[in-house]
């Protein structure tokens, strides 16, 4: 029965195959259909992979080919409990991003080609098990992002795009230095082998703690961690809707994934434990500072963008609290935030499409004119503030529980309690935002605006269904995630 079908390669490269087809085939109409089909198949296959994923854990669906034998670089793919949910998330959001982009009319062919290439690069990051290959995918991602923001964006789009690129390259330069020093220390790029190697026993070319920091800063730019976060509000705000969905939904998770896979997974305990207290402190800065600044935003999209900084703080907290529970919570938070913030950006996009306004003080009373958008936006908002019954609660509760009961980082109780304070501020900005957009008297100038149409409804309802499903029954994901985390710790 085992036909050795390279499922992962198919999933990773299907979008780029679609991109090539879009670029080559004539006919503008086919573009969107090709994009939809390829991303859907990639998603369906990821679901299949998820279902087939064995309960034994470990790295499954491995594919290995020798690529550059002189440097011992392999084409090496595989997923474990940590990366599989992220692959699933990426392929789902990739598919939904195509639906969100359905009404794009400017340079359609190019747009979808870049969008699909973006999906492939992210899928590659999550499934690569060779650091060299990982780095290649990591770098490819910058190119479509640059074009997507600078051509199809709004506002100061060129500035934001170049800012994003410079930040990312700064981060990946450090990571590259980390990868090379790790390679010259161990002689391998193989991430599985690296995670089993005891680095302490080897003669490192630079101190291990420096190497750890190179990786960490590289990932911290992506997550983002204060004070490396200022690219995020600009890029998120000026990107087109679907790209904001991808940015917030999966690109940030590359940072969290890297931290778990490399910083925690490869580096020896002594190094990780030495830095953990500082990083946990930084996480709380992220949570509280992010939430405080969010409350000051008047641009709807910028508000959601800043809220991501706060929510990613919980990921950082969970990762460096270093317990199985906290890391599982952090990974679930990555998945959950991907869906929730993805939906929030999609909703902001809809509100903007209908009203052409993003300045919150100019909005108001829209619940009358667009009831469905109001309901779904509210559900997304409540999920973001961690309401039970949504994935946001399951993820944040597990993260906080794991962090609080972690025995590794001294004083983590205080940090976690401060982190819990974040949920009060979150309730503040979410409810204030909902009030100012949807409640109070309906405004005459929005009398003609339409509610979500059939396609838009289908898209946003899908988000809602996943958010509620994971909220009610998080076991679907946590069973898989905790297998992966157990192996890493």
């Amino acid at each position: 029965m085992d036909l050795n079908i390279p499922y992962l390669s198919i999933i990773v490269f299907l979008p780029v195959v679609g991109a090539i087809a879009i670029a080559l085939l004539p006919g503008a109409k086919a573009v969107k259909r090709i994009a939809l089909t390829t991303t859907f198949i990639a998603f369906a296959l990821s679901v299949a992979l998820f279902v087939m994923f064995g309960s034994g854990g470990g790295i499954q669906f491995q594919e290995r080919l020798s690529w550059i034998p002189q440097l011992q670089v392999d084409y090496f793919l595989g997923v474990d409990g940590l990366s599989l949910p992220l692959v699933l998330l990426t392929s789902l959001l990739g598919f939904l991003a195509v639906l969100v982009s359905w009404k794009i009319e400017l340079r359609v062919r190019e747009y979808f080609a870049w969008l699909l290439l973006l999906e492939t690069s992210i899928l590659g990051v999550f499934s690569a098990l060779d650091l060299f290959l990982f780095f290649i995918f990591w770098e490819i991602e910058v190119i479509p992002m640059y074009f997507l923001i600078s051509i199809w964006g709004t506002g100061r789009k060129e500035y934001s795009a170049i800012k994003y690129v410079i930040y990312t390259i700064f981060g990946s330069a450090l990571m590259l230095a980390g990868i090379l020093t790790l390679y010259f220390t161990t002689g391998t790029f193989d991430m599985v082998q690296l995670s089993q190697t005891d680095l302490v026993g080897l003669r490192a070319v630079i101190p291990l703690s420096t190497m750890f920091l190179l990786f960490f800063v590289g990932y911290a730019v992506k997550l983002p961690v204060f004070p490396l976060h200022t690219w995020l509000p600009d890029a998120h705000t000026d990107a087109p809707t679907a790209v904001s969905v991808m940015l917030a939904g999966v690109l940030l998770k590359m940072g969290g994934y890297g931290m778990i896979r490399v910083c925690v997974g490869i580096f020896p305990e002594t190094i990780v434990h030495r830095f953990a207290p500082y990083l946990v402190g930084l996480a709380i800065v992220n949570v509280l500072y992010g939430a405080a600044v969010t409350l000051r935003q008047e641009d709807l999209k910028r508000l959601i963008a800043y809220s991501s900084i706060s929510h990613m703080g919980y990921v950082l907290l969970g990762v460096f609290a270093l317990s199985q529970l906290s890391l599982t919570g952090a990974t679930l938070q990555m998945f959950s935030h991907g869906m929730i913030t993805g939906l929030l950006f999609a909703m902001v996009g809809l509100v903007y499409d209908k009203t052409h306004v993003r300045h919150i003080p100019h909005l108001g009373g829209l619940a009358r004119q667009m009831p469905i958008i109001a309901v779904v936006f509210s559900i997304a908002g409540f999920a973001a503030l961690g309401l039970p019954g949504t994935s946001g609660f399951a993820a944040e509760f597990l993260t906080l529980l794991g962090s609080y009961s972690s025995t590794i980082v001294p004083g983590i109780h205080i940090y976690t309690i401060l982190g819990v304070l974040g949920i009060v501020i979150t309730a503040g900005y979410i409810l204030w935002m909902l009030e100012r957009i949807f409640y109070r008297q309906a405004l005459e100038r929005y009398d003609g605006v339409r509610d979500a149409d059939g396609l838009e409804r289908a898209t946003i309802f899908t988000f809602v269904a996943v958010i509620i499903l994971i909220g009610i029954y998080p076991k679907i994901l946590t069973d898989v995630i905790s297998l992966g985390i157990q192996a890493i710790l």
Binding site: R296, L398, L400, V420
Partner: protein, 632 residues
């Protein structure tokens, strides 16, 4: 005799209203919107069934003790397991009856009250969701599950306060309610994390054992109890988190009756009762509960004295009565507190329904525009009178019995709080009869054209049912049976209905209450005393009470706006855009500036480049030679 009730019945009790919510939102509203009545009927059917099952469960618990119900696993990570399970003990069984019965009455009433509202379907969907969540809260056997439903009832409260979201006041009140209660939930959540890290369990029964056995004790127990109590303070609108409840009156009146009087706000009291062993083994926690409760009782009652809006008086009354219950708990009176919760649910729901009935015909809640309604609305008047007598604590109505038990507990444990509670008895009787005389007595002060009429039968019947309960529910504990069921005291005889006056305490509280009624009578009915003159005489107090001690201003304008949003957060925002992002942009500009400096060197003159190359070669060769000779 029936066998023990199957455990599925307990699940059905809270799942039925949730199904009703799902059916209304996903089936009736999208596809049967032309028949909005269906949603009300589905809600009533679901809650009615829950009520019947609750009666069955209660019977089973009375005759055969607590039910044991298999748990379902929710999440397993490593050695952490979170389960879903139901705890059907006497406390839960009593709460089930309160919630389902009051909810059923209010749904019936709402059929008429919400009749012409365009949001009819939405209303019943939210009411179903609320009832289901409240029942889930009551039945939860572990802290995580309790917290889940705790937050969900908070959501429903938000949705229903903001039901008329196009009113700015309603939208603001909804937001305020959610955020203020969340401040309390912060403590509750931290307490859950703390208890888990100490004990490794969320299970309520296990936590009881640990507290009783002394495994969980000392400062740790006190902090855990105080954290949990913070949640209760938020939900039950106790001082200092009381500010949201009066504003919550912006919601439809049946909502105020169900959520903000009878059930959800009582969840704080229930929470303390549910985790009572944790409190009872920490003297500091008990004292805190008693002081906050006793203080809130008199503090809220003082504001109730001067409000002109019927619903606001009732809101402050609710806060005050919840304070009584907290005081009872803090004075080790678990059964008296729950008994008062039980009685209060009926008479306070009735008072709100009465207020709703009055506004149904007058179109206002402002008592200055009412008066003389007794003649036009005999049923509303009669039932309102019964409820007022009951809450004032007049023998032999229900409020008398439970209030007396709480006072007795306070006398034994918290003497100072006892005196405050006694003053509150006076205030309660006064403000309730002030409302009664202003609304139903005297002459009508509203517009001339008003056609005053009694509310339809659908509204009157639930009020009559509740008034029967407001008279009779207090009798359940005359023999001590109610308290015994909850695990306190012994069962006595019916003669207690009269022998209670063998003790002086009931006499005193009864006389105090009658004095309160008398004062209201003289001020608002016979007008022998001028309310205005008294108001001027005590004008500093009048201002203090009617301005609500300026807590809204303190919290909203000073703390949230001045200190946080326009203060600290503004500074952080500026720091973010100027310092953090400024540094980044500064670095970029610096790079560009450096680039333009260096560009000047690039003159394009070949001879200059050649010179530079030659100098460079000399330097490099020189240094190599130098290293070779000296370093070698």
């Amino acid at each position: 005799m029936l066998d023990q009730v199957p455990y599925q019945a307990a699940w059905a009790i809270f799942l039925l209203p949730l199904f009703s919510f799902v059916i209304i939102s996903f089936l009736l509203r999208p596809f049967f919107n032309h028949q909005p009545k269906l949603s009300g009927q589905v809600t009533m059917a679901a809650i009615g069934l829950s009520f019947l099952l609750s009666v069955w469960v209660l019977w089973s618990v009375i005759t055969q003790g607590a039910l044991s119900i298999p748990e379902v696993t929710w999440v397993v990570i490593g050695d952490t397991t979170i389960k879903l399970g139901l705890m059907v003990d006497p406390l839960a069984a009593v709460m089930l009856i309160i919630v389902t019965l009051v909810s059923l009455m209010i749904q019936i009433y709402s059929q008429a009250y919400m009749d012409k509202d365009p949001g009819y379907c939405r209303y019943f969907a939210f009411m179903s969701l609320f009832t289901g969540s409240m029942l889930g809260l009551v039945l939860a056997d572990n802290l995580v599950q309790l917290y889940v439903f705790w937050e969900l009832v908070g959501l429903c409260s938000y949705l229903l306060i903001g039901f008329w979201f196009y009113r700015p006041a309603a939208a603001a009140a909804a937001k305020k309610a959610f955020i203020v209660t969340r401040v309390g939930d912060f403590g509750f959540l931290v307490a859950i994390l703390f208890l888990y890290s100490r004990t490794g369990t969320f299970d309520i029964a296990t936590l009881h054992h640990l507290a009783v056995a002394g495994v969980l004790s000392g400062t740790a127990l006190t902090w855990a109890a105080i954290g949990i109590f913070a949640g209760a303070v938020g939900k039950s609108a106790q001082f200092p988190l009381h500010t949201w409840l009066p504003d919550a009156m912006e919601g439809p009146t049946p909502v105020s009756a169900l959520i903000h009087a009878a059930t959800m706000v009582a969840a704080g009291v229930f929470l303390v009762a549910r985790l009572f062993p944790l409190f009872a083994h920490s003297p500091q926690a008990m004292t805190t509960v008693a002081i906050i409760g006793g203080f809130t009782a008199i503090f809220a009652a003082s504001m109730g004295l001067v409000m002109n809006d019927v619903k606001r008086v009732l809101a402050y009354s609710t806060i005050s009565q919840l304070g009584y219950m907290m005081l009872g708990l803090g004075a080790f009176g678990l059964a008296p507190a729950i008994f008062h919760l039980f009685n209060h649910a009926f008479f306070k729901a009735l008072l709100f329904l009465g207020a709703g009935s009055v506004s149904h015909t007058t179109g206002t809640f402002d008592m200055r525009e009412m008066g003389g309604l007794g003649k036009a609305m005999p049923w509303t008047y009669a039932t309102f009178l019964i409820a007022s007598l009951s809450i004032a604590g007049i023998w032999p109505l229900s409020g008398f019995w439970s209030k007396d038990e709480i006072l007795t507990s306070a006398w034994g444990e918290q003497r100072i709080m006892f005196y405050l509670a006694m003053i509150t008895v006076f205030m309660t009787a006064f403000y309730m009869f002030r409302v009664l005389f202003l609304t139903f007595g005297g002459e009508y002060r509203g517009g001339q054209h008003a056609h005053l009429h009694e509310s339809p039968k659908v509204m009157v019947v639930p009020m009559v049912v509740l008034s029967i309960l407001a008279v009779g529910s207090g009798w359940l504990n005359i023999t001590g049976r109610f308290g015994h069921f909850l695990g306190e005291g012994a069962i006595g005889g019916w003669e207690h209905i009269f022998t209670i006056f063998a003790h002086p305490l009931p006499w005193i509280s009864l006389i105090v209450a009658i004095l309160g009624i008398l004062l209201a009578y003289m001020m608002y009915s016979t007008k022998r005393l001028s309310a205005q003159a008294i108001g001027q005489r005590f004008s500093p107090f009048y201002t203090l009470f009617s301005k609500k001690y300026w807590f809204d201003e303190l919290y909203e304008q000073i703390f949230v706006v001045r200190i946080l949003v326009d203060g600290l957060f503004r500074v952080l925002h500026l720091f973010d855009s100027r310092a953090v992002d400024g540094a980044v942009n500064g670095m970029a500009e610096g790079t560009i500036a450096a680039g333009s400096c260096i560009r000047k060197a690039q003159t394009g003159q070949l001879q200059l480049y050649g010179l530079a190359i030659i100098i460079g070669v000399i330097i490099i060769t020189g240094s190599f030679l130098g290293i070779h000779f000296w370093g070698g």
